[in-house]
């Protein structure tokens, strides 16, 4: 029925899924009842292509509340999740023969979505702080001198998957400026923005760009529930118009209309804000539990947001070789090389998700990992 089931005996740190106990079953059921009462048949017929007005209104206000200058309604297209949004945006912006640049390391399941356009993926130059704008300008110039079209750069600049890090502000500015100068579109996966545990999230590339040169992917998967398959795209109105006139949207209307109208009730009732406050506190506790339990075994830094720790292994240890040993001890993780588009890199790193397990289970999992690491 669902995408992932725990294997017996394994406390798995490899999946970036929400903890089941944090999913708002009752609150969502209440919102569905409200939506049925409030919208009646209008929730069940073909929806407006860019999304139902009540959600566009609430979401616009919400995006502006969490970040000044967040978005206007004409810069919004409601999607059936961030992955769906990524597939739609990439299909409009890139195609066979093109080059799509991707951060390294970055969200590994994006690679296949982007490659489904027929484009070739190449690693953007990056160091420990993330994408390096100066080196990127050089690579862009080289590729274009070779006659390659390079329409897109994909990255998760805020509380990144897998590293938990955020791109420094000066690099954000330089990246946006480079994108606007060079006609490169930054595909900003901003799905972790609201999961912040130690203060404010940095400004989005989207906001810094003033709406040109950046397409931002948003999602309700982390803040509410992934099974809803609901998210949004922020983009310039011209791209929003192209999304709305895709054949499939033109025919079927709003791509997830009934759920989108329910979300407008979930938002307007205050349930969204309450729920985000709850999960933020809970994920902070989970983060702290995992970091504390790992520290005797691994030198990990606590990320300021998101769902992931990106841990460096002791010298000489390989993530790929450690994995079966960890699983024999009853835990698991995502090995570093997964997160490099060419599989080349990250052998000394592992991604540990603190989203999926209780603090007690995270502690046990960390101890098992520690045992696997022991010489």
């Amino acid at each position: 029925m669902i995408q992932f089931e725990h294997r017996p005996g394994i406390l798995d740190l490899s999946w970036g899924h929400p903890r089941p106990g944090l999913l708002p079953v009752e609150e969502w059921a209440a919102a569905t009842a409200t939506a049925a009462r409030e919208f009646g048949w209008r929730q069940l017929t073909y929806g407006y292509p860019t999304g139902p007005a009540p959600l566009l209104e609430w979401l616009t206000a919400h995006l502006n509340a969490i970040e000044d200058g967040g978005a206007e309604a004409r810069q919004l297209f409601v999607t059936a999740g961030a992955s769906h949004g990524m597939a739609l945006a990439a299909s409009l912006l890139a195609g066979p023969g093109d080059v799509i640049l991707v951060d390294s390391p970055t969200y590994h399941l994006a690679f296949r979505i982007l490659a489904d356009t027929g484009a070739t993926l190449l690693r953007a130059p990056a160091d420990a702080d993330g994408v390096d704008p100066a080196a990127l300008a050089g690579l862009l110039a080289t590729l274009r001198a070779e006659g390659r079209r390079v329409p897109l750069l994909y990255l998760v600049p805020t509380f990144a998957n897998p590293t938990g890090r955020s791109l420094p502000l000066d690099r954000r500015r330089d990246l946006v400026s480079l994108a606007q100068r060079s006609g490169l579109t930054l595909l900003e996966d901003d799905t972790y923005r609201e999961l912040t545990y130690d203060g404010e999230a940095p400004p989005s590339l989207w906001r810094l760009s003033g709406g040109e040169g950046v397409v931002r992917l948003g999602s309700f998967a982390k803040t509410v529930a992934p099974g809803l398959r609901l998210g949004w795209i922020n983009a310039a109105p011209a791209l929003i118009a192209r999304l709305a006139t895709l054949g499939y949207v033109h025919s079927g209307g709003g791509v997830n209309h009934a759920v989108a109208t329910t979300m407008s009730c979930f938002g307007a009732s205050g349930a969204y804000d309450r729920h985000v406050a709850t999960v933020r506190a809970e994920y902070r506790t989970q983060r702290d539990a995992l970091v504390a339990a790992l520290r005797p075994h691994l030198p990990v830094a606590a990320p300021a947001g998101g769902w992931f720790l990106w841990a460096a292994l002791p010298p000489g240890l390989s993530a790929t070789r450690l994995l079966p040993e960890a699983e024999r001890r009853g835990t698991s993780f995502a090995p570093g090389p997964l997160f490099y588009a060419d599989g080349n890199g990250g052998e000394d790193r592992i991604r540990l998700s603190f989203s999926h397990l209780t603090p007690a289970h995270l502690t046990t999992a960390a101890n098992r990992l520690g045992a696997a690491l022991a010489p």
Copy 2:
């Protein structure tokens, strides 16, 4: 908020949308409450890629109940509506440079979905009975001799949009046999199958094919509600596997998981069967009202299923020229040329939808059309 709002003063026969009063607002709200109770957090996390088991089980049983040998679970992929399914299947089977053949006339909003693959659309040979398999074999041979790849033929063989007609049984058999011999995939839009008013629907191409050479698109839009954005694809297991490993599905899991699990409750409770029986009776009444009111003005035949009348205009009248006259009188319709991929044909035909209005409004609309037709 929604895709279509009536223009003031116009009783519109052009849109193939359900009548608002027939949308199951209370029954669907009851199913959402049941699903929350029954599935809890499992409804809100990432879903199984091909669809949640409870829906696959109910839907398999249902498809076999309405048509012997309907489908196996391994031949099912749950989609976010038939348009979404069409876009996904077409993106896997066709691409730039290919030719996609389409019935003439046929569902006009499919054209853009199919063209979004980058393929060129060409009309398949058809006469008053629908696609002509012998002439199609000739066209296929010619195109392939020219070096064209022709992977797909799109058609609505049962209670078609816009004609209401169904392809005769011998042509169904010949088409399937031609497809299997020639490696052409028939993309069968089977979304009207359960809206049958005068006895049984003819066997689907999918069933006649034994599951090879046909991809069938199913939908809950007409039988339950379009705003849910829920449907399915029937295809050979190899294609189902390709759908499930699309980057976007691999990343996000089941494409409309929460709604799909709710539909399993709607089905299992008997609400689906009751609702289809209700709408079948109501749409039959609506059909009869429109046919009866039109007959003094136009020689129309009552279709045995679906949502549409395909009326021939009196000699010398043009659909395009009639349209502003009809709108001045307070009604509207879809002019015939819309339904031809090359816009070439159908000037003597109009499509009238009886799905959207009450019998009383349909009668009024028909009288207004009659007035527009009067010399």
